[in-house]
Amino acid sequence: MVDVMPTTTDTTQRSATISVLVDNEAGILARVVGLFSGRGYNIDSLTVAPVDAGGLYSRMNIVTSGTSMVIEQIKAQIDRLVPVHRVADLTMDGPHVARELALVKVIGTGEQRVEAMRIADTFRARVVDTTLGSFVFELTGNTDKIDAFIELMRDLGLAEVSRSGIAALARGTRVI
């Protein structure tokens, strides 16, 4: 365990993907979310689910942004919550993979419908539901890829989007 890194008064904002291993207990999500709202931090996305066979631990992946001093502060604030086992800033700790899943409903017919299908192929999106006038695409990838796909669908009858928020892990042998 190392002491916190000396921080500068740098005012540039950066995005951070923070992973937190917590006891899987009632109220823990409210505790973490309340900490963000109470202290005025941003949450760009948040995912949480049990991650071990016994259902004892949950992992939260939080995408947030702020100056490096604020992000250090967020980590420290989360770390001192009693049911928190570990906190890691995946963005700073080295390379990591981050993926999210999106379901995208596109309504249209004729040429638009064909074009939507063609683009979906390019993005390796799967069709998980279809009618004569609609598709629901399932797409996995990093946030930029999903943003790009949704942007392209906008002119092709985009009707509704549901996104999971990101799940993330460090690359290589490192674990949090």
Partner: protein
Amino acid sequence: MSAEWTQSGAEILLRALKDQGVEVIFGYPGGAVLPIYDALFKQNAIRHVLVRQEGGAVHAAEGYARSTGKVGVVLVTSGPGATNAVTGLVDALMDSIPVVCLTGQVPTHLIGNDAFQEADTTGITRPATKHNYLVKRAEDLARVVHEAFYVARSGRPGPVVIDLPKDIVINPAPYAEPAVQHPSYRPRTEPDLGQIAKAVTLMKQAKRPMIYAGGGVINAGPAASEALTKLARITGFPITNTLMGLGCYPASDPQFLGMLGMHGTYEANLAMHGCDMLLAIGARFDDRVTGRLNAFSQHSQKIHIDIDGSSINKNVPVEVPIIADAGKALNALLAAWQASDEPTDKPALASWWRQIDEWRGKQSLKFTQDMQRGGIIKPQYAIQRLFEITRARGKEVFITTEVGQHQMWAAQHFHFEQPNHWMTSGGLGTMGYGLPAAMGVQIAHPDACVIDIAGEASILMNIQEMGTLAQYRLPVKVFILNNQYMGMVRQWQELLHGSRYSETYSAALPDFVKLADAFHATGMRAHSVDELDSVINAMLDCPTAVIADIAVDQAENCFPMIPSGAAHNEMLLGPEHEASGAGVTDAGMALV
């Protein structure tokens, strides 16, 4: 675990409390906690002190905790019992006071039903506590109680709520011994020795060093205060205390520069501003201490020792962060300082002290008391005399305060030689804190002299606790500096809002002498300076609780003062001094 289910949840609860060393509970009964009160009735190991309002119970537990170093325990009922306790919980959270608050709850099958006296206590208290629990299974009860005490007292101490549904305390439950280790919460207490070595290097190289010590030193136990005193003596460095830290370094010591911050001394604040090495221990760079952040101690390299990693680099970036218990870090610093053969810059330190002594020469706490018969009492003088007279009598004295001008004057003019003798609401600034806190202190120290230095406005916020003093024959002395105004608010209105005293004058104050009488206490009053000493002496001689109503100068302001948004070197000195400092900026006006 072959635990037997022969006792009720309430009995298991009390057994766990007893095993945690609990001697006293401050509480107030109600429907949801009746089974616990019934179990309390049938035993003698734990004493219960009946307060008059649940808010008083938490402050009493805080006073008990701060004067003993133990965990304070509170028991209140569901719904309004719990919501009344919330202010005290936040107070304990802000000031890092270990408190365990047991709240009643409606039976588990009624939770969420809007039942009578139901409140979402864990929801409401989540941001008001260090941690909270709702016990939903009998098997968890004993474990949760032990865990709550561990969480409350370890790391950075704080309040913990245990919400107890009525069926959980009625039905049988198994007992469990305290666990050896908490699964996730294991705060770091040992300092990193590499960081300690870096800190010692900075300290040895310092030309203008400064030590800034706060409540964390007191929370680390009396040995930490001793280690701090040793470190200051061995280094010869000047030292200041925060409001919360008063008493962790002997005030009579020549190296002590007094309190720093908004109403701190001139020498303490200018030394903070001018130092080139700042050693912060158990202090959190609070806005009342730093003044304008971008002008705060700009030329210093900073070492910050704190047990709470989130306090480090929160407001002020530091060069050497050390996450550790203050006592352990201080001992490590002492050992490393003594082992190091790096030289110190003695001539530079001597010239730094000459500069500090010049600042000291300003006597920023100076006031003039009219000593003629009938002279109006200056509030500072009242506290000075209270200090001198209690000191001369030699009895152990504990001071609590309410919040406002009187609190700052007490911090400036009452001097503390030891930790754990000064109890004040620092972080939250809770008016009404002092009387119940004094009650808790007196319960813990029945033979000591416990004085609540109060204002006439604050005292009314928890005046009902005079009833508790009467019931338990607690001889607490309430020393009211009565200027008939909410003095600190009035002072800000005078300085910042064109003397428009909007709603700060309390017309129709009670007659405090008669009020004391109504609560079976003794009332006394001093109108002028010639009556002051005799009232203080009579108060201290009185075997009962006392309200001493001291009429003080209504126009007196608390100086020195760093206005909101100003820097340490822009402080305002009082009318005794020539005009100084800067005015308040528009940005400063927006700050509290």
